[in-house]
Amino acid sequence: MQNRHLSLKYIEGEFKMVDIPQAEKRIDLDKKISGEAQFIDDISFQGMLHALVLRSPHAHAEIVDINLDQALQVEGIEKIITGQDIKDEVINVDIGDHRPLAIDKVRFQGEPVAVVLSEDKWKAKKALNLIEVEYNPLKAVMNAREAIKEDRPLVHENQDQYDRHLNTNHHPGTNIFRHYKLRKGNVDQAFENADKIIENTYDYPQRSHTQMEPHGAIAKWTTDQEMVMYASTQSPFFVRTTIADMFNISDTNITVKAGYLGGGFGGKSDVSIEPLTAFIAKFVPNKYVKLKLDREEAFNASLIARGAEVNLKTAVTQEGKILGEKASLYFSSGAYGSTSVHIVTAAGHNSSGPYEIDNMEVDSYGVYTNTPPVGAFRGYGHPEVHWAKERQIHLIAKELDLNEHQVRLKNMLRPGSINALGQEIEEENGDLIGCYEKIKKKLDQIEIDKKPGKVYGKGIAAIMKSPVMPTNSAASATLRFNEEGTVDIACSGSEMGQGTKTAMKQIAAAGLKLPLEKIKIKEDISTDNSPYGWQTIGSTTTWKAGRAVMDAIEKAIDKLKENAELLLDIEKDKLEYQGEKIVSKDDENIYVKTEDICFGHLSENGLVTGEPVQTYGTYMPKGLTYTDPETGQGNAAAEWTFGAQGVVIEIDKETGELKLLNMMMAIDAGKVISPKMARGQIIGGMVQEMGGALTEELKYGKNGEMRNNSFTDYKIPTPLDLYDADLDVFFFETPEPIGPFGARGIAEHGTVGITPAFGNAISDALGIEMFELPLSREKIYLKMIEEGDLDV
């Protein structure tokens, strides 16, 4: 790729590894299975106050009056805080459009209006019920389509006045806060030359992450300038800097501590409830304040996910070659735009899918709507556009009467191709075609045991993914040899189930050529003394923090050799590091044990030679740039991962009920650090996205109130949906030059192509085409009736 810093040392030469040492179990398994692992709500302090939040019942309304008189009469209430208490505190992730509490108006049902603090949560609840708020309801806009209309209400009247961390190319006087434009080649010419133009619109509704652990944070201000916070966050450093900015104080005055997360999936990245927690705690100095969401609040008062309408116009030849494409993407991004600016970008330049399209015109819009704010969710814009693109390819093939595999293979990115961003794809980016052929072959091999009254379908999708993040999103790691020769490693990847701490242990053991038991990973993160890590997002921790660990290892080995040089009087270039010992390259009988020199060497007379070996490793993604505001071209993505996915389904001809029989993925992981955990990531991602494919959709009533904010009404996959299904994961290993031992990120990728695989399987089974997710039983049933295929 262009401007790419290539370094092959981790996949060739000294660090080339065939086998990564495998741990018997995750390092946190014992604590988690026994319930001993502490999550945020398991932490309490003496005298801690509980924060209960009064939330707006309206999706869009002016706040006319708040009356606290009766509520303040309740005994045991420490403090009640409202928007009137806000001075100039603004939450600015990318756009300064958000306050910790609503001030003059509410913009989504669930927005905080008042907070009651009390040591006794029952008393707080009582006071909460006594707060009187008078609202003047306004017309709400619930999706991007409505929100871009001429006569729509504005969610933010003066978005032009907001501070922005980057140019979002917003449209003043409208609800559009982000417009990503991509212009490549000559689209008009391509459309003139086309044999056919195929246009379709695909809808991917909003969803909920539904981490099993609802969000929580605990804050205490120790002085009026210093705060300590415990949070269930993927982003302790980012939370720190956002809160410091909010109060206009130094980052170093804020301490954020993060332990285990009961699931994250992006919904605990950037910031969610942490700024509010910090804000309310400031009113009760020296007291811990805990804000913990209940399940309903986790649905309607944290971050939600996805929400995109994608229109694709594709110009093709009779043979299925894509000449050009016009794409319009409208994201229903919710009431505040900060947490989805980059989703709009990522979706925009990934709308090509894993195909080489010479002529592209993409307009991707982030649009304010009266729903909870949309934030990152596993896949980050990619599942939304793959739903569209992989259905579109299927429909292009159908329209042209071609085989869909041939259409895909004809257009796929391969070494030498130029992608949508203008980057050249190289061999090292991975084996897309190999992955696709693998899934195609596996699907072909599956013989279905057909039952009467059922129809069967197979569906396939190809995928690509890159992390899209600020160009300076660094990772770092510390390495410390202890006196006995063991090694402490720390890096700031939050552990939310992906197994990052265990993977780091394996990477460190492999790099240091030491047994796993000599490596200790520091699990808790504190922004005071843990190495910096921007956020645990984008499937980048193994890749990027892993790389930082390798950097620390290189430096440590160099230091060890320096210590050995002093002791053995052999130049360090003539020494080889072998893990437990450092050996002369000329004579293997001359060596020194690592454990004898890792703290400097102590001789019999007490004289010390050398220094303790403690190092710091860093990694900054190289060569990233902002995209050009007019053409959208540039190095927005630091690495690519390719793969393919497939499903086999059974549909009941009478009821439309869909049953999963097989689900699979082939992915070029670069290097699999742990086969078991890697499989768990891919399968977890696929099943999570299966929810999006079949059942999950946030629904709103006519006043904009969320109607399915519970597990009874919002259906996520259960054990019953998977018990009888066969799942397969196939790993390809084309080394990635940056990642440790060639490893790429894989944590989100299981989600990316699952929805179109289901859509294409339904087409295969019934010949009906679906354009709106979820592909519910009801929709399939109605469509079957419409098409006259119903067998009754």
Binding site: Y260, G680, I683, G684, I716, P719
Partner: protein
């Protein structure tokens, strides 16, 4: 009005005052500081807070604390001292059936309850035992494999 109840939790006898609105989950987590039992939904929908009440699995978030009067409760804190727990743990290790771990104690309690009923459950019995438990990380495959390993 708070009421004093007598109960047995993890084989230890308790005499405790409980307010009428307090749930068993609140009693465990907030009063007895047994935080191994997790709250995922508070509505009996996710299974994370499952404990055994007289050997039967219940959602402790929808059981009132005063309902355990005269009954026996086993939580993950009690179970983890037993040989059965060790077996379940070995199976979870073998299949890497834990990711974020928040739902895990609930699943473990459900599996223990299933094994209390039968050592050779059918597929239907396994589905019935686990069907109401939600996990958002694993995709269930590894948990199912762990259970099948236990009943082989």
């Amino acid at each position: 009005m708070a009421k004093e109840i007598k109960t047995t939790i993890n084989n230890k006898k308790y005499k405790i005052e409980v307010p009428p609105q307090m749930t068993l989950l609140e009693l465990l987590r907030e009063k007895l500081i047994m935080t191994g039992t997790k709250e995922g939904c508070g509505n009996g929908e996710c299974g994370a807070c499952t404990v055994l009440l007289n050997d039967k699995p219940v959602r402790s978030c929808i059981v009132l604390a005063h309902e355990i009067e005269g009954k026996e409760v086993i939580t993950i804190e009690g179970l983890k001292e037993t040989g059965d727990f060790k077996e379940i743990k070995e199976a979870f290790i073998a299949e890497d059936a834990v990711q974020c771990g928040f739902c895990t104690p609930g699943f473990v309690m459900a599996i223990k309850a299933l094994l209390n009923r039968t050592k050779t459950p059918t597929d239907e019995e396994i589905k019935e035992a686990l069907g109401g438990h939600l996990c958002r990380c694993t995709g269930y495959e590894s948990i199912h494999k762990a259970v099948k390993r236990l009943v082989k």
